[in-house]
Subunit: 600 residues, 2 copies
C-alpha cells in the first residue's frame, strides 16, 4: 500500500496501491459511495472530483457520462479512476450511499408565528390601457390599498416583466410595506435560517406561513481553506490584500449553495426565499458581511457592530427574492456572537429558572451562566479537536466513524456510525476513548499513556506512546491508534471549556453544585456521552439528569427568529442583558486553565 | 484637402491634408486648443485622444509627457500628431482654451435650507480599552446620544478604520438616524444635483450647509453612442441582451465622472458627497436605474414606477459617501418625468399665478400648462435638431458656433460664440437663420428655398436647394450652408412643440392669447431669440414681455430638492396634481401637427 488517498469532506485518509480504483480505496476506508452497478462504470452514480494528485485519464464512458468540460475539472467516476500516486478526492453529498450526519438536529420550541414577511397569495390587477396609464408600482399600490407600498430597486427591476408573465396576477411577498418579490399566484413565502459555524454550516428551509421546517442540511464552512480557527482567518484577512474578500465570498457562496440544495430537495426556487436569519460568532459575522476584522483580532477585541442588522440579501450577494433581507441577530461582545444569542433562545435555557449553565461546543465554545442575579458569557478557543481535526485518526461524524468506545475487563468494544467497519474516530468516540482509557488505568491524570494489562496495545510511536485501538490485521490493514499528542489536543480543548466554566461560576459567586441545569448544545454535544465528559473533567461532576443535550440550539434559535419578529426583539434584549467576560483579562484565568488540563 | 477630421464632443468636421497636425486642423476648424508653446510639443497642454483613424505614431516627447499606457489608448499631443487618413478625435474639456458653454445656467430661487443630510462636524469618542469593550457602532451611538443610530453595511465596512485613522475624532454625516459616512473632523457635507438629459448632462456640486453652489459643469450623455433619442435607446435595450446594462453603465459612469470633475475643481473628494438628486425623463430615469423599459416603449407607455425613490448610491454604482442615497424625484406619466417636475419647481412657474405655459426644450420637449382650474402636461419627441444634430453644418454651442444671424438689405451678418471664425450653426443660430430667411423671402411657409436678390447664395445641392451662409473663399475654405432637408428637420422639431402647445390649450379650454406667461427652459431655451421663435411659429404670437427664459430650470429644481426635503414633498404633490396628456391618443393630434409644420 504505497499511496494515500485523502477523501474530503469527511476527512478520511486511506492507503492504496497503484492501479486500485478510487471506489476500491473508498470501500477499504469504509466510505460507502453510491455504486448500484457494482463498479462496472455503468450506473454513473459514484461521481467524485479529483482535486489533486495522479490518476488515470478519463475513459470514453466517463466523458460520455459527465461531459468533457466536467472531466477536465477533475469530475470522474470513482470506479473508473485508477490511482497512480497520492490523491485528494472531493465527494459530493449526492454520491454518499448513506446520508452524512448533518449538523442540523435540534429541538423546536413552540412559538407564536409572527414572521417579518407574509405572502398575499393571489392578487389580480387590471391591466394598463390608454385610459389607465398608472405605473406598474402604482397599480400594485392601488390593488393592495397600500399607498405607501415601497419597491426596492431589485424588485422594481423585475415587477413589470413578472406582472406581464403572469397576466397581472401574482403572489406578493411583503415585509411591512416593502415588496420583497412578485411570484406566480399561490406561491408561499420561504425562510432560510443558517448557523454559520467556524467549521460547519447548518441550513434550514422553513415555510413562513405554517412554520414548518421543510428541509435541513449541513455543510462544511469553505473558509477552512483559509484557516482553521477564527484567529487564523482574521490573520489571513489582514495579511492578504484580497484575504477578507476571499473569506466573504467563500461564505456567501456556501450559503447560496446550501439554499439551492435545500430548495432543490423540496422542489422550490431560491427566489421563493423571502427572508433569512444568519447567526455566527462575531468573527464569522464580520467576515460574512465584509466588515473590518483588524480591530477584532487585537485586544481589546472590539467588533465594528454588535447591534442586530437587517441587510438586503442582494447587497450581500445572496440570490434570494429580489427584495429579501438577511437578518443578523445581535452580537454580545468579543467573539460571543449572534450564534450564542440564538443558542440561548433556541435551547429554552433562559426560561428554565434557577441557575443554568450553557455550553455551545464548537471550534469556538461559547459558555453562558444564567442566574436570577444576572447573565454572564465568555468564549473559549477550544479548537477543532472534537470535530476530529488535529487528531491522528480523527474524522468527522460520517459512516465508519467510531462513535462509542467501551473498555471492559481488558476488552475494547467499539460502535461505529451505520455499523460500518471502523475508519477513524469522531468527537464522541474520542471523548469516550479518553474516559475509558482513564478508567482502565491506561491514562494518568496528566495524560501519560501506560497501563498494566494492555501491553500488547501500547507501544512507542513517532508522537510519543500510543494506544492501538484497532489492529490493522483485524481491519483490512487499516490500523487506528490514539497517541500522546492526541491526548494533549483533547486536554487543551476540554481545559479551555472547563476554565471558562470555572471563571463564570466565580463571577456569579456560585459553585458548580448550585447549578440546576447544564445545557449542552452543538453538533458534537448532541452525540457525546455526558458521563465521559464528566469522567475527564470537561463538565462539573453533577447528576446525569441535571444535563440537557439540546442539539443545534443556535440553528433552532435562528429558525425561531425567522418565524417571529418578537423573538428578534427578545434577542436584542438578551444581547444587552448578558454580561460579557473577557477571559484574557481575568487574572485567575491562566492558573484556572492549567488546573483544568488535568484529566480528573 | 483630402481627409476629414471629426472633433468631438463639439461635433465639428474639418477638412485636412496628409501631414497636417491635429492642432493645425483644429485651428482651421476654429477650435481653440490650449497650446501655450505655439505647437512646439513643449507645453504638453493640447492633449487630445485619437478615437479612430490613421495618424503618425507617438514620438519620444509625447511618450515622456503622457506615459506609454495613455499613448497606447490614443492620448496624444495634437501638435505632434500628423494626419494620415480620416480621423476621429476626442477633446477633453481641459484642452479647450475657451470654456465650452455648459448646460448649467439657471436661476436660483430662494428656499429655506432643510437638507436630508447634515454633518456633525467634530465628534470625539473615548477609545476602546479592556474596561470598555463597546463595539465601534455602539461607541458612536453613545457619543451622539442616538441609541437607534443605523449604519448601512458599506458604512460599517469603513467606520472601524476611519475612526482609528483619525484617532477617534470625526465629522459624521447623518441622514435622520442613518450614518452616511465618517470623515476627518471639520469636513462639511456636499450634495450633487444632476439633470440627466437625453443628450446632455448638467451637474452641480452644492454645500449642504450653506446652500451655495460650489461648481457646475455640463457633459454629453454617453448613451448617445447607443441611440440618439429615447425610443432608439429603448430599442437598443430590447434588441441586445446586454443593451440595458450598457446604457445603465454609461449613465452611471458619466455621473461618476462628472462628480469627480466637480470635486477636483473644488479640491474636495467624491466621498464627501453625502446626498444626490437626479432628474430625467421617464426613459432616462428607467435606463439609469436599470428598470425594464419594454413596457415603456409600447403604447400605453407605462413606467415601472412613478413615485419618488430613495436609493443607496452604492447600489447604483455611484462612488459617493458609503451611506449616501440618490433621491429621484417622481415621474408624472408617460415620458414626462422627474426632470419636468424639477423644471416646474425650479422655474418658479407654479407660483406665478394666472395661466402659465412652460416648455422645457430638449431632445424630448416637455410642455406644461398651469391654470387655476388644473395643470396639464405632455411630452413631444422634438428631436436633437436644435442641439445641432441632423443639421448638415449644425454643431453644439461651442466657440465658433454661429449663434445669431441677421439678414438685412441683402446682407448676411453673423455672430459667433467667442467671436471665433464661423465653424457651424448652433441651435439659436439655426432658429435665427430660419426666421431671417423667412423674413427675407428666401423661405416660403412650406419650407421651400428660393428668393429674389439672393441668387448668388442659393444653389442646387445633393439635399435639395441650399443657402450658402458662409462662402468657403471668405472663411479659410470652410463653407457653411443650410439646405432643404435642414429646414425640414427644424419644421418637424418646431411642429412637434407647437402641436403639443395647441393640444394642451384645447384641453384647458383657453386660447394662447389668454396666457399670462410663457416660460422657456432648457439650454437651447437660454440663448434662443424669442422673436425668431415667434416668427417661425414655434411659439404663440404674444408680446415679448410675456416670455421668461429661465435657463436650466430642471437643474435648479434638482438643486432645490437637494437642499430641502420640503421641496421633495412638494414635488410628490405636483407629480400627482399634473394631468398627463398622451398626445398619441388625442384624435386631433395628427391634424394639429400637420398644421404646425408650416413656417407662419
Amino acid at each position: 500500500l504505497s499511496f494515500t488517498v485523502d477523501f474530503e469532506p469527511i476527512g478520511r485518509r486511506v492507503p492504496a496501491n497503484r492501479g486500485d480504483s478510487l471506489l476500491e480505496a473508498a470501500q477499504r476506508g469504509g466510505i460507502v459511495l453510491n455504486a448500484t452497478c457494482g463498479g462496472e462504470g455503468v450506473c454513473g452514480r459514484c461521481i467524485i472530483q479529483v482535486v489533486a494528485g495522479e490518476v488515470s485519464p478519463p475513459n470514453f464512458g466517463e466523458i460520455a457520462e459527465l461531459g468533457e468540460a466536467d472531466t477536465q475539472l477533475g469530475w470522474r467516476l470513482a470506479c473508473q479512476t485508477e490511482i497512480q500516486g497520492d490523491v485528494r478526492v472531493h465527494i459530493p453529498p449526492e454520491s454518499f450511499a448513506t446520508a452524512q450526519r448533518t449538523q442540523t438536529e435540534g429541538h423546536d420550541l413552540p412559538i407564536a408565528l409572527d414572521p417579518a414577511v407574509r405572502a398575499v397569495r393571489d392578487v389580480f390587477l387590471p391591466p394598463p390601457g390608454l385610459e389607465d396609464l398608472r405605473s406598474d408600482a402604482d397599480r400594485l399600490r392601488d390593488a393592495l390599498n397600500m399607498p405607501a407600498l415601497y419597491f426596492p430597486i431589485p424588485v422594481l427591476r423585475t415587477i413589470s416583466n413578472d406582472l406581464r408573465a403572469n397576466e397581472f396576477r401574482a403572489s406578493i411577498f411583503l415585509r411591512g410595506s416593502t415588496v420583497v418579490g412578485l411570484h406566480p399566484p399561490g406561491t408561499s413565502a420561504l425562510g432560510f435560517a443558517v448557523d454559520l459555524g467556524t467549521t460547519k454550516l447548518a441550513g434550514y428551509l422553513v415555510d413562513l406561513e405554517s412554520g414548518e421546517t421543510l428541509a435541513a442540511m449541513g455543510a462544511m464552512n469553505p473558509q477552512i481553506a483559509y484557516g482553521e480557527d477564527v484567529m487564523a482567518r482574521i490573520r489571513h484577512a489582514m495579511d492578504n490584500p484580497e484575504g477578507a474578500e476571499q473569506l466573504r465570498r467563500a461564505a456567501v457562496e456556501a450559503l447560496n449553495d446550501l439554499a439551492r440544495r435545500l430548495c432543490a430537495q423540496t422542489g422550490r426556487s431560491v427566489s421563493d426565499i423571502a427572508d433569512a436569519v444568519v447567526v455566527g460568532n462575531t468573527a464569522m459575522h464580520h467576515l460574512f458581511l465584509g466588515l473590518p476584522v483588524e480591530q477584532l483580532g487585537l485586544a481589546p477585541y472590539v467588533p465594528a457592530e454588535s447591534a442586530a442588522l437587517e441587510i438586503p440579501a442582494r447587497e450581500l450577494g445572496l440570490e434570494f427574492a429580489p427584495g429579501a433581507d438577511v437578518h443578523l441577530l445581535p452580537n454580545i461582545a468579543g467573539f460571543v456572537g449572534a450564534d450564542h444569542v440564538a443558542m440561548l433562545l433556541g435551547s429554552g435555557m433562559l426560561d428554565l429558572g434557577g441557575m443554568v449553565l450553557g455550553l455551545d461546543i464548537g471550534t469556538n465554545t461559547e459558555i453562558s451562566l444564567i442566574t436570577p442575579r444576572g447573565h454572564f458569557a465568555c468564549s473559549t478557543a477550544s479548537g477543532p479537536a472534537f470535530e476530529g481535526a488535529h487528531i491522528r485518526h480523527g474524522m468527522r461524524a460520517a459512516p465508519g466513524a467510531i462513535e462509542k468506545v467501551l473498555i471492559h475487563e481488558g476488552q475494547v468494544r467499539l460502535q461505529t456510525i451505520d455499523d460500518q467497519p471502523p475508519v477513524g474516530l469522531c468527537g464522541s468516540g474520542i471523548l469516550d476513548l479518553i474516559a475509558q482509557m482513564r478508567k482502565a488505568g491506561i491514562l494518568n491524570n496528566r495524560g501519560a499513556i501506560d497501563g498494566p494489562g494492555f501491553e500488547q496495545r501500547i507501544r512507542q510511536g513517532s508522537h510519543g506512546r500510543e494506544f492501538v485501538l484497532v489492529a490493522g490485521a483485524e481491519n483490512n490493514d487499516l490500523e487506528i491508534t490514539f497517541n500522546r499528542s492526541d491526548v494533549t489536543e483533547i486536554q487543551l480543548a476540554k481545559g479551555a471549556m472547563r476554565a471558562g466554566v470555572e471563571i463564570l461560576l466565580k463571577k456569579a459567586g456560585i459553585t458548580a453544585q448550585q447549578l440546576d441545569k447544564v445545557v449542552i448544545a452543538g453538533a458534537f454535544g448532541t452525540y457525546l456521552d455526558v458521563h465521559s465528559g464528566i469522567e475527564i473533567g470537561m463538565f462539573p461532576r453533577l447528576e446525569r439528569d441535571r444535563f440537557l443535550q439540546v442539539g443545534n440550539a443556535a440553528g433552532a434559535g435562528a429558525r425561531m427568529a425567522l418565524l417571529s419578529t418578537q423573538v428578534r426583539q427578545r434577542a436584542a434584549q438578551v444581547a444587552r442583558e448578558v454580561r460579557y467576560v473577557e477571559l484574557s483579562s481575568e487574572p485567575s484565568f491562566s492558573s484556572t486553565f492549567a488546573r483544568s488540563l488535568l484529566l480528573e
